[in-house]
Amino acid sequence: MASSSIFGLCGALLIGMGLYGFITHPHLLRRLLAFNVIGSGIFLLFGATAARLPSAATDPVPQALIITGIVVALAATALGVGLVLAYARVTGRTTLPEDGAPTDPGKPPR
């Protein structure tokens, strides 16, 4: 098995795990974390594509793209965390109301 395949499979695994968490967890922070897990999986997969050329040389483009992507994901995560914090501050909740699970047990609602 080529290393690129291992990278690819790991990436896919990460994406799957992250996706499961992203969709099933009502807790917003967990969702953000799951988002990052998916993101890591995609970047891993992307990285693996660098090896797709038949020659030994690796493709430099994916690296550049991954770095950019990480920055973008970071920005999105930052916004998300900020929103989650503000939301928790205002409502005392860490989940969206329609997603069922009540408030975070650690913090009484205000």
């Binding site: 969709i23 099933t24 009502p26 329609e98 997603d99």
Partner: protein, 573 residues
């Protein structure tokens, strides 16, 4: 624009009254508008006596107006113009001080124009317009006094007049399309074998029959004629009914399928009308019934003349001419008798009796001449019927004279004046006398030109006998009835609608039908809107439920993931 062509006098005869009608409405004229009335028929009288040969065409007006009168129509036109003039003179006195003289005068002129128009029209559009003018604006003459019974009579009149208009319109349309022309002559020819031709003829008979009082369409006539002011009654009964007659003369096609029926109806009307007249007591109503009866005869004469291609309308016109003058004299005479006392009153009654005899067709009178001439165009039993009708006419007119003699002297406005007012005003008496004389005498003058019979024919014994015995029979009947203290005449005024009213009462539940239909319609509409609304609500509720579900990230997120696969799979197919 193409200017009119042909002789101008017929055109002037029509436009002049219309102009006067408009002038009557001008504010300075309004109060004295009645004074204009005698002027209105003058050009028509001129036309009648100067004679208008040739055809006048005014291509721009209506659908192209064509004017001209055949010989019978011209005779009736003469009668009409003279009668309107006499009535107008009469109105100067008898209608003095009436309310709304301007409106009355205006419609008087309009009716006159229409009345003249029906005799002159050669194309169907003009005829229809003229007929509508005479028919509908006469309504205002009927209701002029605005009393309750006048208005009631007017309502019945207008309803039947409209029904008549519609019948005529449909018949004209059938005829015009069959003839592919608007000319009356061609329509008449085309009607003989047009599709729906017989139906059209039936409609024509109905439409004109309503106007002329053909039974059973006569119901309006004994109500409307007496309700109008006396001069208007005179023209209604003497001239306006002739519009129906002239219509039949112009349109009734030769050898139609229903000619015999029309003749039979005519004679039935002649006898029925006269006998029905015995039931009422009001003199003007009795006269109206007499008009119905006489018009029945004329219609029979007209229909008889269409049996064969060579038939001549001259007898009908001749008869109608006499009747118009005589009936005008009788109606105007009612006011004369009612307005005078003593010997003036007796004189009036005698004069009217003479006219009545003439109408009945007593020997050597104008009416006798007319009847004698008419008989030449008829078959055997028709001749007998015509002869016999003189008896019923004598009877009904005798009854009229009796009732008139018994009527109280009406002199309300002059009571304050001196006793010298017992003699009637010349403007009242003049027209009556003139018309009476004309009725009795003028048929002699026209005899050889219109009857086509030798000049001594009226003096022949057979003629005299056939004219005399029915009149004698009628007089005998009068005598008998007078002895029996007049068993007739239980009704003060005519009441031809009793049956209709009873039927109306019986059919009253039908009145609720439109209402219940409307309710039903509304209920259906409500129910269907409600159903639609319910369906909408259900759909919206469903959508809202779905919306609540989709709001849950678990469902929506899964949907996105699933759709990724779905799109990939679909793209792979």
């Amino acid at each position: 624009m193409i200017g009119p062509s042909g002789p101008m006098l017929p055109l002037v005869a029509l436009i002049w009254p219309l102009l006067l009608g408009l002038v009557a409405l001008l504010p300075p004229v309004r109060a004295h508008a009645l004074r204009l009335l005698p002027l209105a028929p003058l050009p028509a009288i001129g036309l009648a006596f100067l004679g208008g040969q040739g055809v006048t065409v005014v291509p721009d007006v209506l659908l192209g107006v064509t004017l001209g009168a055949g010989r019978p129509a011209m005779l009736l036109l003469t009668l009409t113009a003279c009668l309107w003039f006499a009535a107008a003179v009469h109105a100067q006195k008898s209608m003095k001080g009436t309310a709304n003289p301007a409106v009355f005068s205006s419609f008087w002129c309009l009716t006159l124009a229409g009345n003249l128009g029906v005799f002159l029209a050669q194309d169907v559009a003009t005829f229809y317009v003229a007929f509508a003018a005479v028919s509908l604006s006469a309504y205002f003459l009927v209701v002029h006094e605005a009393t309750a019974e006048a208005l009631r009579a007017g309502r019945l009149y207008i309803v039947l007049a409209l029904v008549g208009e519609v019948c005529l319109l449909v018949a004209f349309l059938i005829g015009a399309s069959a003839a592919d022309s608007l000319m009356i002559g061609q329509i008449r020819l085309a009607l003989a074998d047009a599709p729906l031709g017989t139906f059209a003829v039936a409609l024509l008979v109905a439409g004109f029959g309503i106007k002329a009082g053909l039974m059973p369409l006569h119901v309006w006539l004994p109500l409307a004629h007496p309700a109008a002011p006396t001069p208007a009654s005179a023209v209604l009964s003497g001239a306006i009914v002739k519009a129906g007659i002239v219509g039949l003369m112009l349109f009734l096609p030769v050898a139609s399928d229903i000619t015999t029926i029309v003749i039979a109806l005519g004679f039935a009307t002649a006898f029925g009308g006269a006998l029905a007249g015995l039931r009422v007591r009001q003199p003007k109503a009795i006269l109206a019934y007499s008009t119905i009866s006489q018009m029945g005869l004329v219609i029979a004469l007209v229909a008889a003349a269409t049996r064969s291609p060579g038939g001549d309308m001259a007898y009908a016109a001749y008869y109608g001419f006499h009747h118009g003058l005589a009936k005008g004299a009788l109606f105007l005479g009612v006011a004369l008798v009612a307005g005078s006392r003593g010997r003036w009153r007796s004189g009036g009654l005698v004069l009217l009796a003479a006219v009545a005899l003439s109408v009945a067709g007593a020997p050597l009178t104008g009416g006798g001449l007319a009847k004698a001439a008419a008989k030449t165009g008829l078959g055997a039993w028709e001749t007998f019927a015509l002869t016999l009708s003189a008896a019923t006419t004598t009877l009904v007119l005798g009854w009229f004279l009796v009732r008139l003699a018994a009527s109280p002297t009406k002199h309300a406005e002059d009571d304050a004046e001196a006793e010298g007012a017992r003699h009637p005003h010349p403007l009242i008496a003049g027209p009556v006398v003139a018309l009476a004389l004309a009725a009795v005498v003028s048929p002699w003058w026209l005899w050889s030109a219109w009857s086509g019979l030798p000049a001594d024919y009226p003096m022949r014994l057979a003629t005299l006998w056939s004219a005399a015995w029915p009149v004698a029979l009628g007089m005998a009947a009068i005598a008998a009835m007078a002895r029996a203290n007049w068993p007739a005449g239980t009704l003060e005024a005519a009441d031809p609608l009793r049956a209709a009213r009873a039927a109306g009462r019986r059919l009253a539940p039908l009145k609720r039908v439109p209402g219940s239909l409307a309710t039903m319609r509304a209920a259906i509409a409500d129910r269907s809107t409600a159903a639609v609304r319910r369906a909408g609500t259900v759909a919206a509720k469903g959508a809202e439920t779905l919306e609540g579900a989709l709001l849950q990230w678990r469902i929506s997120g899964l949907a996105i993931v699933v759709s990724v696969l779905a799109i990939a799979i679909l793209a792979a197919r």
